[in-house]
């Protein structure tokens, strides 16, 4: 991943008004405005434990360089005056990575890389608000690291699909073993994917979206 330009680079970027640099310098070439035709902005959460490949998958699909916001876990009630300048060790900051991809003329899909550990619960509902569903990434080398995430997703009521991000040294399990281990409902999609690969990542998102369509109209199946 390319490193961000240093702040001294940005301070000298042409076209950035001096007033903007006091708060946050943004080089104009970094700004990817939405297409004028964008009318429906939808969101899918890409969740899973640390290191499972959420950002990799988002990067594989996003048409913009993935961005991130910094979220403060102490920000339970979204109080702005609690957010910044707090440097004590009890404040945890977590980066939410996200990407964006245009789907046809009017639909724009956002992928939010959302940590799923229990301690992120205060943030979860705010980030999940309005999401179509969640893609839960699982590393079969450490299945138990996904239990928290699955619990959080299920409690939030968000429909989801499970994608096993394939690591070369992972043990092979049967689908039945995995479903039992993860305690999945029979109709919850379970697919394998390679988060580094665009087609494979898109396929795992498609399995989720098809699941969303199916559950909206079960009579049509």
């Amino acid at each position: 991943m390319a490193s961000a330009p240093s702040s001294s680079d940005r301070m000298h970027s042409p076209g950035v008004p001096p007033s903007a640099t006091t708060s946050a310098p943004v080089a104009p070439e970094e700004v990817n405005h939405l297409p004028d035709s964008a009318r429906e902005l939808v969101k899918i959460l890409v969740t899973g434990p640390f290191g499972v490949g959420k950002t990799t998958l988002i990067d594989s699909v996003s048409e913009i360089r993935p961005l991130h916001t910094e979220e403060h876990l102490t920000e339970v009630s979204a109080r702005v005056d609690d957010l910044a300048g707090v440097r004590d060790k009890s404040t945890t900051t977590v980066a939410i990575d996200f990407g964006r991809v245009s789907l046809g003329d009017s639909v724009v899909l956002y992928l939010f890389g959302t940590p799923g550990q229990e301690r992120f619960r205060p943030l979860w509902d705010d980030i999940a608000y309005g999401a179509l569903g969640a893609l839960v990434l699982v590393d079969t080398r450490r299945i138990d690291a996904s239990f928290d995430v699955l619990g959080l997703v299920e409690e939030s009521g968000l429909p989801y699909a499970v994608a096993l991000n394939t690591f070369p040294d992972a043990k092979q399990y049967t689908e039945e073993q995995l479903r039992r281990s993860l305690d999945l409902e029979p109709d919850t999609p379970l697919v394998t994917c390679d988060a580094r690969d665009t087609n494979s990542s898109v396929d795992s998102l498609l399995s989720l979206v098809q699941h969303l369509i199916d559950r909206m109209a079960p009579e049509a199946q």
């Binding site: 405005h33 916001t69 665009t198 979206v209 109209a217």
Partner: protein
Amino acid sequence: MTGRRSGRPLVPAYLSTGGVARPSRNSLERLSVLTGAGGPPPAGLPSAQAALLGLLDGGSLTVMESAALLRLPVSAVRVLAAALIDQGLVSARPPVPPAALPDRDLLKRVADGLRALKL
């Protein structure tokens, strides 16, 4: 999920909003679309508001993207955007028109769009 990639901003978020803790309107979601009204920014606009307005010069961005680019918390951008909306400098619309909320047709278009991404 990765660690911090950049240093903490020099100006803390609560100063960027002039100490205002809550937005003047509650309708701004992470994916609400902000659009600049165009025209020169008024003199004396607080610098953080001017920075957000500058981002929206000539195009639209979501609240989430604005926060990421300005390196400010989403909640601070909600405050800044609401102030700009109150001044008529920015307009906002919800991510999805209320009538289109997740329906089968929208989901099918998402699926079709994803299929079209495959190489």
